[in-house]
């Protein structure tokens, strides 16, 4: 591992504002507004009405000529522009536009597009329309498309009794305007339009038409046609439900057609969230590694001439890391819930206090009870004894939980001693180990040979029921 210890190799994850999501300049005291100043309103936002009233009440117009506002646009930024011009919220203007479009039987839509064409965007002096005048090819195309739609509508009118053409005729103008806008709008506006029509574009892509797309297209076409059919037959039908059914079908068509695209957007959001979670996890890990491993490595380097300290540090770190990686225990978490965990705690403490490596092997595990706690206390005593007196370079602790009994063996290859020569009153072995085990119905066997080492075997039956015949010292150390 070749990492800079001072900082994690990956940068912390940051959110970035997505492009085109800039706030509306009006609420931020745009310099362009400040030229006029807000004499009667110290802070632009503070004095403005909030809540629903905000959309209805008229604020101050800025007095500048009407300009489209590309910063805050859905279509051409016309509504936002009008809003700023006359001091309404853009949302209010938009709703008004939609209502107007419906009331005027569709004429509002081409009017909007004409406005888009002739009103310059803020910050630019010429309108799109001015540019479009010189685009003869575009004009030709616009006329062609518009007349195509007109012919189509004429045909439809002949075949039908013409209830919805009322809404469609104005769109002949819309189509012409849109064509001109599309050909002559500045690049950033084009990008915005492209985003709006992206799903349709993907339908038309020649080499990317997959089977799913085709199927969707067919299904939505069927739905659309039947939906329009139902709407058109309103004249024949008497029930109120039929137009509703028609709208449902049209809506279904739109969902089928554009659903996957919306789904993709939702999925992208999900991926983003997951990526963030991963990044946080990594940062957490980096912090952990830094707090523990890197610190220890630094300590080890500093005490390189003291082998025992180095070993001790390395062992302690290894254990901590292992318990974190494989047992999910946070460093410093000392609560002991099970027998095996208790044995590991003995290992941790003895290594930390006496600097002798303790190799632990545990087989099986079971919850702690009073007797097993006593067994643990005895095992701790035996391990500490070995660490203090044997002089062995390593102590082996083997603990096995069997269905009927629990056994712990503490073994060293150290100096050893003559078992018989130890005075009976020496507390260590006699009381802490043997006495404690006996009181809890267990057994302690100490074998030792001078020069070869010592082995303490502790066994205790499981489910031993006669508790409390002696003062319980299970929890003491």
């Amino acid at each position: 591992m070749q990492q800079e210890p001072s900082e994690p190799p990956w940068p912390p994850f940051r959110f970035q504002d997505r492009e085109g999501r800039r706030r509306h300049p009006r609420r931020h005291g745009h310099p362009w507004q400040d030229q006029r100043g807000w004499q009667d309103q110290p802070e632009g936002d503070a004095a403005r009405p909030h809540g629903p009233a905000r959309f209805l009440r008229r604020g101050h117009g800025d007095g500048n000529p009407l300009r489209r506002d590309p910063e805050d646009r859905i279509g051409g930024g016309l509504a936002a522009g009008v809003g700023i011009w006359r001091g309404f919220s853009p949302t209010t203007v938009r709703i008004a536009f939609v209502v107007a479009a419906l009331v005027t039987q569709g004429w509002g839509i081409p009017i909007y597009f004409v406005g888009w064409l002739v009103i310059p965007a803020r910050g630019s002096s010429t309108s799109i329309g001015a540019k479009a005048r010189h685009d003869s090819q575009g004009v030709a195309l616009a006329i062609a498309l518009a007349s195509l739609l007109a012919v189509f509508l004429l045909l439809a009118g002949v075949l039908n009794d013409g209830s919805i053409e009322v809404y469609c005729w104005p769109q002949v103008v819309s189509v012409a305007c849109l064509t001109l806008i599309w050909r002559n709008a500045p690049d950033d506006e084009k990008a915005g339009m492209r985003r709006l029509v992206e799903p349709l574009e993907s339908l038309g892509g020649q080499n990317r038409v997959r089977r799913g797309t085709k199927l969707r297209f067919v299904v939505s076409a069927v739905l659309l046609i039947s939906g329009i059919g139902v709407i058109v037959s309103i004249h024949g039908g008497l029930q109120l439900l039929r137009p509703l059914g028609g709208f449902v079908l049209v809506a279904a068509a739109i969902v089928v057609l554009l659903g996957p695209w919306w789904l993709r957007i939702a999925r992208d959001l999900l991926f983003e969230r997951q990526a963030r979670a991963r990044a946080e996890e990594r940062a957490d890990m980096a912090a952990r590694v830094h707090d523990s491993v890197l610190q220890t490595l630094a300590l080890i380097q500093r005490s390189a001439d003291d082998p025992q300290t180095v070993v001790q540090l390395a062992r302690a770190q290894e254990r901590e890391l292992r318990s974190w990686l494989f047992e999910g225990r946070a460093p410093g978490d000392t609560e002991v819930a099970s027998f095996a965990a208790g044995i590991k705690e003995i290992q941790r403490d003895v290594e930390a206090r006496h600097g002798v490596p303790v190799e632990v092997v545990t087989v099986g595990d079971c919850p702690l009870d009073e007797h097993l706690s006593a067994l643990l206390a005895a095992a701790r005593e035996a391990t500490v004894n070995a660490a203090k007196w044997s002089g062995a370079s390593v102590i082996s602790v083997f603990a096995e939980v069997e269905p009927d009994k629990v056994a712990v063996t503490v073994r060293d290859r150290g100096a050893g001693f003559d078992v018989d020569s130890v005075p009976a009153d020496r507390k260590g072995v006699a009381e802490s180990i043997r006495g404690r085990m006996l009181r809890h119905g267990g057994e302690a066997v100490v074998q030792s040979t001078v020069g070869e080492g010592t082995k303490v075997t502790l066994t205790m039956a499981r489910g031993f029921a006669s508790a409390g015949q002696a003062p319980a010292d299970g929890r003491q150390r």
Partner: protein
Amino acid sequence: MSAAGAGAPRVVLVDDHGLFRSGVRSELGRQVEVVGEADDVAPAIELIGRELPDVVLLDVHLPGGGGHAVITEVKKDHPEVKFLALSASDAPEDVIAVIRAGARGYVTKTISTTDLADAIRRVADGDAVFSHRLAGFVLDAFATAPAAADVRPSFDPELDQLTSREREVLRLIAQGYTYKEVARELFISVKTVESHVSSVLRKLQLSSRHQLTRWAAERRLT
């Protein structure tokens, strides 16, 4: 033993830590003949197939799929190649997976160089090498007496159970006894100890015991 002589086992090192490989190579160089190194599953398989070493020293954890993937792949074409697994951080189920794939033993990276060279020679001779940790894992895996409902019909029921003698041997190994010490403790020969260990290894690898799988799954959960 002087510079790697004619009798020294030919060894391939597979470990993703370059530092560890070079350390082992420089320390073992006098006692075994290191014929190649690899740092991941795919290059390891290719290298082993080419060199056909006596022993492959195999890290349990490899980026491209773990040590057992190497063993499984190599054993298909070259069943005679022997593997000795080693690892620094041993999740029991990973170690057992490597052994069940066919490794002849498992040691931890904290092992001394002499012991490691000894273990390699032993594996090269066809013996099994159990570290105290592996002995603990094996006892753990075979420990709990299967409940009646849990015993699956097996071709060879003996495979599913350790004998009491094998258990004793494993317990002593788990306590840090060497084979020689085990032999002395149990009043048997070292050869007998080795045969017990080999038989445990065989059971571990061949047992269809449902419980081994379940044990591993449980270990992973806790």
